[in-house]
Every structure is written in C-alpha cells, then in structure tokens.
C-alpha cells in the first residue's frame, strides 16, 4: 500500500479520478462548474508554462496568444471542416507547437528580459493577426465552436466536460512528470541551475530550451482548444498581455517547478477574483475585486515566496528552525 502511495503517477491518477467524480456526485451550480472547468484548463496551460519557466528557466510573456491560436484552430476546424473534436484538439496543440518551435528557433537565443520582450512582442503581433485575419478568426465578431462530441457522446453538460478536461489534464501531467524524470528533465534542471555547468555536462542548451518552449506552446494550444469548446466562443481581445501575465502569476504563485503548484496557482488566479466579488460588504466599493486580488497576489509572494505548493515544506522548515536554533537574521543595509 505504501509503495503505491509513493508512486507519483498513481497519485496523480487517483487525485484526477476523485476530482473528476466530485461534480458527478455532488450538486453544484452550473456557473461554479464552468469555473472549475476553467481552473483545470488554465492549470493545463500553467503546467506547460511551468516546464518553460520553472524547469527550463526561460520566460515568456506571449503565451496567451498561443492559447488563443489553439482556440481559433479548434473552432475553425470543427466548424468549417467538421473535423472530429479529438482530432482538432490534437491539431490545436500541434500547430501552436510548430509556431512555437519557429519562434523558439529565433527568440531563444535571447536571454532574460530580452526573451520576455521578444515573446511579448510576438504575442501582441499574433493577437493583432487574430484581429485582422478575418477569414480565419471572423475578426471581432468572434469565432464560435460547437459542443464537443467524443465517439458520438456530446459533452453538453458541464459535469461531463469536466471529466474530459480532468482526463486531459492528468494525461498531460503524467507526460510532464515522465518527461521531467527522464534525461531531458534532468538536462532542463541542470540548465536552469547553471548554464555553465550544463554546458560542461555536454547538454545542448539550445535543444533543450527549444523542447521546453515547444512543449509549453503545445500545452497552451490544448488549453485554448478546451477553452473554446467550453465557452463556445472566442474573440481577439481575450488573448492579450493580461492573460499572459496571469499565466506567469499562476506559475509563480503556485510554485516554480512544481506540477501541483501550477494547479494551485491556476485555482488561485481564477478563483480569487470571483470569491472577492461575492463578498457582500465589499460590493459597494468600485473595482474592489481588482484591489483585493492584487493585495492577495502581493501577500502570497511576500509570505510564501516559494509558492503555494511549498507552504507545508516552508512551515515545517521554520518550525524546525524555531525548535532547534534561533532564526538567523541577515541584516538590512
């Protein structure tokens, strides 16, 4: 028993199963279910983004555009070519991945904030393309997507759709998990920790950065596809910098290089504004949700700089310290 519980893939699957069942056995508001679906969808994108940021140490401020690209591709192919949903889902992952590869080939030579701005620029340009390429995106009137059908079963109910997104999420988590415990994963981590050391170890930095970038765009595209079939509509203004920055926040808040962290981060960023909006006594103050979400974001970083996923470790560490030794204080200058 203990052996099984130590097996992480098994734990992921078990957690996924339990989570997927919750809406089926409990009675939840439809809008809450929509939000849960969105949390899992953003979690997928955040996991991909975490491979890039948390493991490979590369930043991107343009991933919203890849998510949008996935959404448009899926909407386009299912409505215009009546492509089966699963095929379009795959396509919505693969095409952004190819675009990501091409962008990666040129942009990944840049470092740090230069990479950040290059990807930001690419994101803005791609979003602008969504606005102008009306034949593909239907411009500002927006693109519609159908209710997905899998082997003849239409996922009209939110509960059913939730099962789908959880399955996809767990599959992608397992994939990420296996990848990160493989040679590629070790190379990525070595590279993040020290480029020089990694180079000395014979890691081809560029190749691994590229792999991480392409994977993150794949995850973003898949997330976009699921999104558009859930909401059944998309338009260009959605895929702007704010979503890219939100993705960044999800990964950091949840914890860099932590898969459960990305899920927690996605839950935090999607859920907190809704939660704040529902607090009655705050509703008379204008824009209160924005202020409180901002404050929450700052507080999490200040008190849990290693992310939500590592709270328990952090608390344990500080408890240990307190018992055995006084806490050292580096002084402020």
């Amino acid at each position: 028993m203990k052996g099984i519980l130590q097996n992480k893939p098994f734990l992921y699957i078990l957690t996924g199963l339990i989570v997927a069942m919750i809406p089926l056995v409990t009675d939840m508001d439809r809008s809450t279910l929509t939000m849960l679906n969105l949390i899992v969808i953003y979690a997928i994108v955040a996991i991909g983004f975490n491979i890039l940021l948390g493991y490979a140490g590369q930043i991107s401020l343009g991933h919203a555009a890849f998510m949008g690209l996935g959404a448009y591709i899926s909407a386009y192919f299912t409505s215009n070519f009546e492509l089966p949903f699963l095929a379009s889902l795959l396509l919505a992952g693969v095409i952004p991945m190819v675009v990501g590869l091409i962008l990666g080939l040129v942009a990944l030579r840049l470092e740090g904030h230069y990479l950040a701005i290059a990807t930001l620029g690419f994101g803005v340009a791609l979003q602008q393309t969504f606005k102008e390429w009306i034949g593909f995106t239907n411009g500002f009137s927006g693109a519609r997507a159908v209710t997905p059908e899998i082997f003849g079963f239409a996922l009209r109910e939110r509960e059913h759709f939730f099962v789908l997104v959880v399955i996809v999420c767990v599959l992608l988590i397992l994939f990420a998990h296996n990848l990160l415990s493989s040679k590629t994963g070790r190379a990525l981590i070595a590279m993040r920790d020290s480029e020089h050391a990694a180079q000395a170890m014979g890691v081809s930095l560029f190749k691994y950065k590229l792999i991480a970038f392409a994977l993150s765009t794949f995850y973003a595209g898949i997330g976009g596809s699921l999104y558009v079939h859930l909401i059944r509509f998309t338009e260009p203004n959605q895929w702007g910098i704010d979503v890219s920055l939100n993705l960044l926040a999800m990964v950091v808040i949840g914890g860099l290089a932590s898969i459960p962290g990305s899920v927690l981060g996605a839950a935090f960023i999607v859920f907190i504004p809704e939660f704040v909006k529902d607090i009655e006594w705050l509703q008379n103050i204008k824009n209160v949700a924005s202020i409180f979400t901002g404050v929450a974001l700052v507080l999490v970083i200040l008190f849990f700089p290693y992310g939500l996923a590592r709270i328990s470790t952090q608390i344990k560490a500080s408890l240990l310290k307190r018992q055995k030794q006084p806490i050292p204080k580096e002084m402020e200058g």
Binding site: K321, Q325, P326, I327, P328, K329, E330, M331, E332, G333
Partner: protein
C-alpha cells in the same frame, strides 16, 4: 580598540560562531587564522554588520556596535576589504576608489593621493574598468578602496588569496606600511607564516570557536600549535 564578547552567530542552519571573544588593540596587526569554514569570514561579517549575532556584543572604542548597519559601521572608521577582492568590474579604478570614500567624500582627493602613493600602478590605470585589471592589481584596488574610507580599523579578508608569491610579498609589505602609518589591521588569512610574520597578535579559530590566542611571535614559534592547527609548515 575592538572587542568581541561571547558572540554567537548563525548562518542559515549552521551555528557559525560559538562564544567567540577577541580583542584588537589599537596600532596592532592582529591575525585570525583557521581552516576553510572555521568561521573567519563570519567574524568579519559580524563586525561589519552584515551578520547579526544572536548573542554577545561588539564594541568599538567602548561604543556598542552590535547590530549596527554596515554604513554606520563604516562611519565609525571600520572598513572591510572583502574576500575575493570584489571590485566593481564595470566601474573604473577611480570610481571604485570613490565608492570607498563614500562616507569620507570630503577628503576623497587627499585620500586618493595617499592610495596612489601606496599603489602607483592604480594611478596608471585610473580610467580603466576594474574588471580589466589583473588579480594582483584588483587586490591592490580592493585594499586601496578600503583605505579611501580613512579607516581606524582595516579588516582584510584573505588578501593573499589566489595571488602569485611575489605579489603576496608586496601586499604584505604594504599592509605593514599601512599599519606603520597608524591604521590598526585585522587580518584574516590562511597563509599563516607570512601573516604571523607581520602581526603582533593572533587568534586561531576552529569550527566557530577560538581555540588559541597569543602574541604572533609565540604562535609562530610554537611548533605544537603549528602542527595541530596550521597544517604544520
């Protein structure tokens, strides 16, 4: 002049200094010897205010310095030349020296001449970026930079580290000269022989504890101590 009394300090989880007491008398060169990780740098950090001791106190000329911020410590006349030189690579030699005189900027020009007198090489390279200097030159710059603060007490952290023997000899003779001009020097070294030969007094540190102290000449000649703690040269 400077007194550490029963200082305990932690570095993360590591208990870096255990009940350390030491005294530096005015006008002396005092050497602190010990192996890597014995806690030598921690003592300097405690003095400079980078590391706050958990227990004990630091007094300078009778004034309590415990827990003061580094810039306040520098204003008292204590300055440290850190390990590994740590010059500012993208600042010119002159700018590096100017930063050294941050707390004494009114007398910067006067100090500058003094430093150029000790290290004529620095004058030649005044306008060059410090990152382009050789290791020895950078060490000169680091010491010169510290002198710019007109220190009463100069803390030197392994000034001989990574330098060729000839240059080390130069450096040590300059330290002696600086001391001769009235600056008290607290020298942290692994290079025991040369350090002891210019020092008045010495402390030996092992795993965070002072295990021996005495006049430098005595320690230098005590073969037992040398054998036990200083790698037996």
């Amino acid at each position: 002049m400077l007194k550490l009394e029963k200082v305990d300090a932690y570095y993360g989880y590591i208990h870096a200094l255990k009940n350390v007491s030491l005294e530096i008398k005015e006008g002396n060169i005092v050497t602190l010897l010990g192996a890597n990780g014995a806690g030598k740098t921690s003592i300097l950090k405690v003095i400079s205010g980078l590391l706050k001791p958990q227990k004990g106190n630091v007094a300078f000329n009778g004034k309590d310095l415990t827990g003061q911020s580094p810039d306040k410590v520098v204003k008292q006349g204590i300055i440290q030349s850190p390990e590994g030189r740590q010059v500012f690579p993208e600042l010119t030699v002159k700018e590096n020296l100017q930063i050294g005189a941050y707390t004494q900027s009114r007398e910067a020009n006067q100090s500058l001449e003094k430093v150029f007198h000790y290290f004529p090489r620095l004058k030649e390279r005044e306008k060059q970026d410090a990152g382009t200097l050789s290791g020895g030159e950078q060490q000169m710059l680091a010491i010169g930079r510290a002198l710019m603060a007109k220190p009463k007490l100069l803390l030197l952290d392994e000034p001989s580290l990574g330098l060729a023997p000839l240059i080390v000899k130069d450096i040590f003779s300059i330290i002696k000269e600086i001391n001769g001009q009235g600056t008290t020097v607290f020298l942290v070294e692994q290079n025991a022989n040369q350090a002891l030969s210019i020092s008045h007094y010495a402390y030996i540190l092992e795993t965070g504890k002072v295990i021996h102290h005495g006049p430098a000449a005595e320690i230098k000649n005590d073969s037992k101590i040398k054998q036990a703690y200083l790698g037996g040269h």
